[in-house]
Symmetry: C2
Subunit: 320 residues, 2 copies
DNA sequence: TTGAAAGCGGTACCAC
DNA sequence: GTGGTACCGCTTTCAA
């Protein structure tokens, strides 16, 4: 390539990485040759030499979960603007593959890491410390992240939903919750507020992750079998909530007349069921975007906020 | 690392890549040192030296689309078993970023490529030819794939749905379809069969991609405004179909009494709406899995089927 | 079974 | 503004 253009390899390199450092004439000439030959630089070699691979790895429990995929999409989009790509790894529920996945990923020397959640094994933490790259943990809140964090408090979500439902006059509650650590924290927050108010008539139905409509339908069925009919149900996801809504309607229960329903995450369908789902709004694209900003900031040596709380918002709709 | 264990670098390399070529004693010793130091080999250097990067790149229109994410999940899982990882790129609707994305991806020298769809720009095709790696195109069918293909015929899907609905006695039809090339092919197949049977009372409502419940609800609303009430609606996705179902119920239409609905893809929720959605079943995990097999086969020099038609199946449920 | 030497295809560093 | 030289950390090839 270099000899084809009659310049040194380093000049070709500069044309790609620092075009402003190359004389306009040379620049155009080299670019023409590049265009003509269809030359594509080898980032593997570049990465080895420069120790910058220009990609960020992201680990999520599952891509098919819309809750995560939208954050990943915005992360990808923002990083793309700065010339970075995203290598996606799925750790499974519950993060069973995280350790080996992390090793596989770190061996590719990513320039940054996006991790879902804040609980990692000791071995993983040690590896992360050695890797010495920017890391952003998301979807949760802790005062002591490994490096940086973008998330919100699941406990506060649970508390806020409890306050909200109590404020609407409900007194008997049900919880249908996926087997997921963060959902469990939301449930604890929910229960703590109800406990304080001496409203402990709460039945919980656990379902396996990942959630789907069927589990929501079955969840409500089981909840009703438990006796002590709840007037309001808090679900660990909109998906479950929609299943509950379908099941309630199939059983002739009026919503919210007989049963109020609150979901979580505000997936796009939540506003368009009939009646529309009440839920907890999380700005998912913001998570990816701000995570990208944090990583890029660190990479480029800018000062960054270590902890970003993006908050949430309880949305009242036709199901409450 | 090598000197720490008192062996040469090549021996360490063999411990990772060809442990059977190393004496058991040496093997165990080196492994102990690896364990103790937490050494993680550098795949960037390895990739440069061996010209095998041990990853496959996958390009899909959008990860947040469940239709694709499940195939990607099975692709990822199968490749992981063979020590490969997946770099995901999203090209957007309609594949607007494909060209630059492809260049960015090829510069990382993937060992294989998974492409959604069979239409690529001339420039892309040229680059792919130069790259000289195994490529599998998915989600469609053509007698002349770039290299390998795993998919099914969208035209036949449309035809099959038309035959099915006509067989159920329907005579007036509606189509609600996302702005997507493959959905358009399904629609053409649908219309061709109806045309042959002189049943050309078909109204089409186009909606932008990606689909969501709201677009389905609005789609039905617009379809009804068009006059000539359809008795059956074919939607380009289950998501739209569910929106149609919700809107129909909100308007007091009985389903399938007043209106039959058929979706596409058989997403997990389709079986659990009330009534359950009729749809066209596509074995999405099979697409990823077989694509992985094709790529690995090519990489490992095994003979592979160039074209795999995974077929489809029209599922009758409560909405027809 | 193990190792020495020579790259893989770029980039950092410094001189010109 | 441009180029020479060394080297990034591994694997290949071939010899011992």
């Amino acid at each position: 390539m270099a000899k084809l253009a009659g310049v040194s390899p380093i000049t070709v390199s500069r044309v790609f990485n620092r075009p402003e450092k190359v004389a306009t004439g040379t620049l155009e000439h080299v670019r023409r040759v590049i265009e003509r030959t269809g030359y594509v630089p080898n980032l593997v070699a570049g990465g080895l030499a420069s120790r910058r691979t220009r990609f960020v790895a992201a680990i999520v429990p599952a891509i098919s979960n819309q809750i995560f995929s939208e954050s990943i999409q915005s992360l990808t989009d923002r990083l793309w603007e700065s010339g970075y790509q995203v290598l996606l790894g799925t750790s499974g529920y519950p993060m069973s593959r995280e350790e080996s996945l992390l090793a596989a990923i770190l061996s590719r020397r990513p320039d940054g890491l996006f991790l879902t959640g804040i609980s990692h094994s000791l071995k993983s933490r040690r590896r992360l410390a050695v890797a010495n790259i920017p890391i952003v943990e998301v979807w949760d809140l802790t005062p002591s992240p490994i490096d940086m964090l973008v998330g919100f408090s699941h406990e506060k979500v649970g508390q806020a939903v409890a306050e909200f439902l109590v404020g609407r006059g409900h007194r008997r509650f049900g919880v249908i919750t996926a087997d997921d650590a963060r959902a469990e924290v939301r449930r604890m927050g929910f229960l703590s507020v109800l406990g304080e108010k001496r409203l402990d008539d709460v039945q919980t139905v656990p379902v396996p992750a990942p959630s789907n409509f069927r589990l929501g339908r079955e969840g409500l069925a089981r909840l009703l079998e438990l006796g002590s009919l709840p007037r309001a149900v808090f679900c660990s996801s909109d998906t479950l909530a929609h299943g509950v809504l379908i099941e309630a309607q199939a059983r002739g229960l009026s919503v919210p007349g007989d049963l109020a329903i609150v979901g979580f995450a505000d997936l796009d369908f939540a506003a368009h069921t009939s009646p529309p789902l009440s839920t907890v709004r999380i700005d998912r694209p913001a998570i990816g975007r701000r995570a990208a900003e944090s990583l890029l900031g660190r990479i480029e040596g800018r000062p960054v906020e270590r902890i970003v709380d993006i908050g949430f918002h309880v949305m009242e709709r036709g199901t409450t």
